[in-house]
């Protein structure tokens, strides 16, 4: 992996991902104006364009690194999330799901375009590091979905409390939103936990090798990740403590989502050695 040539994403690839994000935004706008077919077409075009960029990029490099560098990882996961949303909206629509989740997908594509690095991470050579990246990324993705659905829950709840049935778009029933959020949490939280533990172990190992005196536990990325873990842990334990059910769990998921976004941004500005 380490001898792979460094390929900087060219302007065409960056433009492609930004256009893909733009198409996702247009899809959300079309959905907001009840143009479902247009929304679906735009979303599909965004996915097709994103896939084309990743294929082109991989062909230029001669290998596909789905999770080993930020460009491929963020692009791949952003497209995967958009595809999942489109599938749900096609198979059994949840009103407003695309409004809340597709922006996350677009955000990931924009982040890939702006911050995307194409040099494989230095620690991408062991099974531990692979486990870390796979579980951390997919766990964060599932938790992000839970957070977005939590936000939907809060909006739907507010409408119900204000007895507003005449809102232009229904956001799906509270029961279904709660169920989606719980499923996402049940998948995302264990994965994220494994990602966090393996990441910490790798950080300690790297610190020992590099002789870095800065405590790894206080790195901003680690602190934010722990915050994410705590917020979603509280949200996940509602079946044990039902007084957390509903509004509180949704609010915690939303806080978790903001922390996930902050973590993804912060990690881009950290020196490679701290990863």
């Amino acid at each position: 992996m380490a001898n792979l040539p460094e390929i900087v994403p060219n302007s065409l690839e960056i433009t492609g991902l930004l256009c893909s994000a733009g198409l996702l935004a247009a899809s959300v706008a079309a959905s907001a104006t009840k143009r479902r077919s247009a929304s679906f077409a735009l979303g599909s075009a965004a996915i097709a364009l994103g896939v084309a960029v990743l294929i082109g990029h991989s062909m230029a490099r001669g290998d596909w690194l789905p999770l080993d560098d930020n460009f491929d990882a963020l692009g791949f996961l952003g497209i995967l999330l958009a595809a999942a949303v489109l599938y749900i909206q096609f198979a059994r629509p949840v009103g407003g799901l695309d409004w809340f989740v597709l922006p996350i997908s677009a955000f990931m594509l924009i982040e890939a375009a702006i911050f995307g690095r194409t040099v494989p991470h230095q620690y991408a050579e062991t099974a531990w590091s692979w486990t870390h990246r796979l579980t951390a990324y997919t766990g964060a993705l599932a938790l992000a979905v839970a957070g977005a659905v939590g936000a939907m829950y809060l909006v739907a709840l507010r409408r119900l409390r204000s007895k507003n049935l005449n809102a232009s778009t229904s956001l799906g029933s509270l029961e279904r939103l709660e169920s989606i959020a719980q499923y996402s949490l049940a998948i995302g939280w264990p994965l994220f936990t494994v990602g966090l533990i393996t990441g910490l172990l790798w950080g300690i190992h790297r610190q020992a090798i590099l002789g870095n005196s800065q405590p790894v536990f206080f790195a901003p990325k680690i602190l934010l990740a722990v915050g994410v873990w705590i917020a979603f842990a509280l949200a996940l334990h509602t079946p044990i403590n039902p007084s957390f059910r509903g509004r509180k769990a949704a609010a915690l998921s939303l806080v978790g989502l903001l922390l996930v976004a902050a973590t993804l941004i912060v990690v881009q500005f950290m020196p490679e050695a701290s990863h």
């Binding site: 739907a156 007895k163 049935l165 005449n166 232009s168 799906g172 509270l174 059910r245 509004r247």
Partner: protein, 454 residues
């Protein structure tokens, strides 16, 4: 187009006693259409029969006939159709003749588009009418009583209705307290097969609301009342069970939807009682509908987490908002109807005058060619290039001469309803023959099928 006629009555012109004698079920409608087809083979008919209206969209037979008498003028057709309808329904014409309205040409088209868009309905924006318009058209297609004019007209009408439904909020929301309550329940719960509906009180209003919730197919339905016999009586109607009011706290702990409508002077569900209930039900969401006056449920119950309390005012306010929202959408719906009307009339006129224009061009180009040949025969030694130039000159000359009258025919919107007269004038002035004699069977039923999409 001026052969198109609408004869009908609706809830604004005829009382229920009259309408009920003229209503057609599906089989009767097919029979009536078949009879019309037999009586007037070159006429067209679509029969729209709903509980609020009976409308006959017909194309007057153009040959002045029919098996049962002469129909030579537009004025005679409504009377003929009235008698035909009376015969089909076996009622005297006097029963309904005075209640009828009659419209022709563009006015009839506009009326149908308004009907399909639910702008002419008793309940503004109700969605059923579009299905009824489509069913009426389907019946006519099956019996082959719709032809060259009614096929595109009804296909366009269905497109208008769909357009209004998707592009405006005319059909959004509910207009009864019970259906609003069900809509709120759907915003809370995803499925109802595992839910319990509890009805406190066995009065008329409770029964009405309960009927709506019973249609959701809940797992369990319980009626609870001081008078157990009344509770049993009501629960039997919905395959539910009855319970005594004394067991209320236990019943509340198991219920997901609570409809309360007792005649109690004081609240029977207090916050203290409900806090204990919520703990017992592990904070599962509960939807409480208080339709009693004075109220059965303390207002503070609705402040608890996962409790959604709605009283009669809340539900009625939603109904009022829906009504107001629908009224606001009327303008947008009207614009859509007008746009479709304009497009349809233009297309209809193009269909009517197209063959005439075609024939006009053919005829005068033939005259031009004839004169050209005569002139060219007088010249010797004319080159091929010179001949082509002169031919082009004649072609351009004919086109320029015909350009203005043809453009006027195609574009002048003031011609609505006068197309037939213009066609007749063209036939006479330019000595055209057989203009506009396109046969009904030449037009495929799905000619305007694209309008269904979207």
């Amino acid at each position: 187009m001026e052969h198109l006629s609408l004869l009908g009555l609706n809830h604004t012109t005829a009382p229920l006693e009259v309408r009920e004698q003229l209503v057609f079920d599906s089989a009767q409608m097919h029979d009536a259409l078949a009879r019309f087809h037999a009586d007037f083979p070159d006429g067209e008919l679509v029969l729209l029969s709903t509980c609020n209206r009976l409308e006959l969209y017909s194309v007057r037979p153009g040959n002045g006939g029919g098996k049962t008498g002469e129909i030579s003028s537009l004025e005679a057709w409504p009377a003929r159709l009235t008698h035909w309808l009376a015969g089909v329904r076996s009622v005297p014409p006097a029963l309904f003749a005075q209640r009828l309205y009659h419209k022709t040409s563009a006015q009839a088209v506009e009326h149908l588009f308004n009907v399909a868009a639910s702008l002419d309905s008793m309940v503004l924006g109700e969605a059923q009418i579009l299905g009824q318009v489509r069913a009426a058209y389907d019946a006519s297609r099956e019996v082959k009583s719709a032809g060259r004019l009614l096929h595109p007209l009804f296909q366009r009408a269905v497109a208008v209705g769909k357009d209004v439904q998707t592009r405006t909020s005319l059909g959004d929301g509910r207009l009864s307290v019970a259906s609003v309550a069900v809509d709120f329940a759907r915003r809370i719960f995803d499925h109802f097969a595992d839910k319990t509906v509890l009805c406190i009180g066995a009065g008329k209003m409770s029964s009405l609301v309960l009927r709506h919730f019973a249609n959701l197919g809940p797992g369990k339905l319980i009626v609870c009342n001081r008078d157990l016999a009344k509770a049993e009586n009501l629960s039997r109607q919905f395959n539910g069970s009855a319970a005594d009011l004394q067991n209320l706290p236990e019943l509340l702990a198991s219920a997901d939807i609570v409809v309360s409508g007792t005649g109690s002077a004081r609240p029977i569900i207090t916050r203290t009682m409900f806090d204990a209930v919520m703990k017992k039900r592990r904070y599962r969401p509960v939807f409480v509908i208080d339709i009693a006056l004075p109220r059965d449920v303390e207002a503070s119950v609705g402040e608890a987490d996962n409790v959604y309390l709605y009283n009669l005012d809340d539900l009625q306010e939603t109904v009022a908002k829906t009504l107001s929202q629908r009224k606001q959408a009327v303008d947008s719906a009207g614009k859509i109807v007008n746009e479709h009307l304009r497009q349809f009339l233009l297309a209809a006129r193009a269909r009517e005058i197209g063959p005439a224009i075609d024939q006009l061009y053919k005829r005068y180009h033939a005259v031009g060619q004839e004169e050209l040949a005569r002139t060219l025969s007088k010249f010797n030694g004319i080159t091929a290039e010179q001949k082509a130039e002169v031919e082009e000159l004649v072609r351009r000359l004919v086109n320029k001469i015909l350009h203005d009258p043809v453009r006027t025919l195609r574009q002048n919107e003031a011609l609505h309803g006068l197309t037939g007269q213009y066609l007749h004038a063209m036939e006479m002035l330019f000595n055209l023959e057989g203009v506009g004699e396109e046969k009904a069977e030449d037009v495929p039923p799905e000619a305007d099928q694209s309008k269904f999409s979207g």
